[in-house]
Symmetry: C2
Subunit: 282 residues, 2 copies
Amino acid sequence: MAAIETVSEQRCFGGIQGFYSHVSEACGGPMRFAVYMPPAAEEGPVPLLWYLAGLTCTAETFTIKAGAQRLASELGLALVMPDTSPRDTGLPGATGDWEFGEGAGFYLDATEAPWNARFRMYSYVVDELPRLVAASFRLDMGRQGIFGHSMGGHGALTIALRNPGRYRSVSAFAPIVAPSRVPWGEKAFSHYLGPDRKAWERHDATALVKGGARFDGTILVDQGEADGFLVNQLQPQRLEAACEGADQPLELRMHPGYDHSYYFIQTFVDDHLRHHAKALVA
Amino acid sequence: MAAIETVSEQRCFGGIQGFYSHVSEACGGPMRFAVYMPPAAEEGPVPLLWYLAGLTCTAETFTIKAGAQRLASELGLALVMPDTSPRDTGLPGATGDWEFGEGAGFYLDATEAPWNARFRMYSYVVDELPRLVAASFRLDMGRQGIFGHSMGGHGALTIALRNPGRYRSVSAFAPIVAPSRVPWGEKAFSHYLGPDRKAWERHDATALVKGGARFDGTILVDQGEADGFLVNQLQPQRLEAACEGADQPLELRMHPGYDHSYYFIQTFVDDHLRHHAKALVA
């Protein structure tokens, strides 16, 4: 396992907001990620909460826009924030479209060339980065939660559903709950996974629940009603119907007036941190 | 007085984070500013807190990086956040140097050509923008406070000291307390105000206090000890000595490990909001 390099470390709410780089095996090149370590880590290993960001975002977005470190510090929760894709891949078509390629990895392992050489964010987030952070930070890997926004909400839901027992808690802001059925997902999946829609279902939270996957706990989802992507891309009612049909506990909260931005996220991020802390903090 | 145009309005912590544009008389062209209106404004006029940003920043910086809306919403405080200079001035030398010109207005009225035609941020912040926001938002202009960061900390301190009775509270993060004596200020002031250093003193908080200016209340200043600009540009001990010699109450808090960034600001922003709320909220 390659070593990590410290890009920067800055004090924040008594803890450390750090940015790190390393050479990723899963993604075949250099990757950056961010970690917030709360002051409680000085006393011993702390539980960790994965945050997966949305289209166009980087490892930095949540650290500067969400205002999450305040309560994470108080609760003693580490935050681990990967990038949204490999970068500088040099692959034709990997840049220039904000919905696909760099900044739009969709937290899956691409099976189609040329994407399958680099776009392997599922393995990166589920296997490689956990090993790396476990070896580099004072983390209690027995207490992990996962959440995300939009494409990252899709990532959090699908990863939690596919890895029972790994995460004690899961939540999402405005997730893409059924990517197989909406334009963002259809574009990305047809490039990354090819035309066989059956293969897409492993990366579709609604399809996973319909197919029998369960999360042991309540899934928390917040959605703004003034979100410009609600009708065409997000469609939380699909997940709601699937969970109802499967006895999967889901708390879907609809918020009048809120949009898709980090002003929405910062408004409700404390609720999400407390949701995770209930499962992660003794 | 020209009307304001709404650029965007987004719900945040039950209130509205808005961005607005207008044609400024003081600055001779279009200007943008941001306002956060808390939910309490639905009941009646609310007190307002001016935030002046630092070098390279815009009206947006504080709104996305400080995490201030949470407590402002709870306390019922409006936040008014001007840009740091006029933009697209077309003046030779106004862009390309982050320490001077656009993004670096230093909250003064330039007296030297060509800057005096556009760079009049003192009049903008003290006269024009207050009239504009008073006419456009539900604000209680009898209850105003002011704070800022770095160049904006300089702005907040000098504007509060030069306008006794106008602001009930003042504070700063890592302010440039003596711009006449440090490279950032010397560069900017010699361009904006010319070579006569006597004329610089009206825009230097330390010189103002030495010259008899007083703020009726305690000035709160937070400064990170790991701030890379501390020794060469900020030098809070100059303000501390001047306040001690003048019986001006100052609470200067030095914070080990913190730097000049918004991770520092977000850590202490709640303390500042509470400091202002003591003076502004009944």
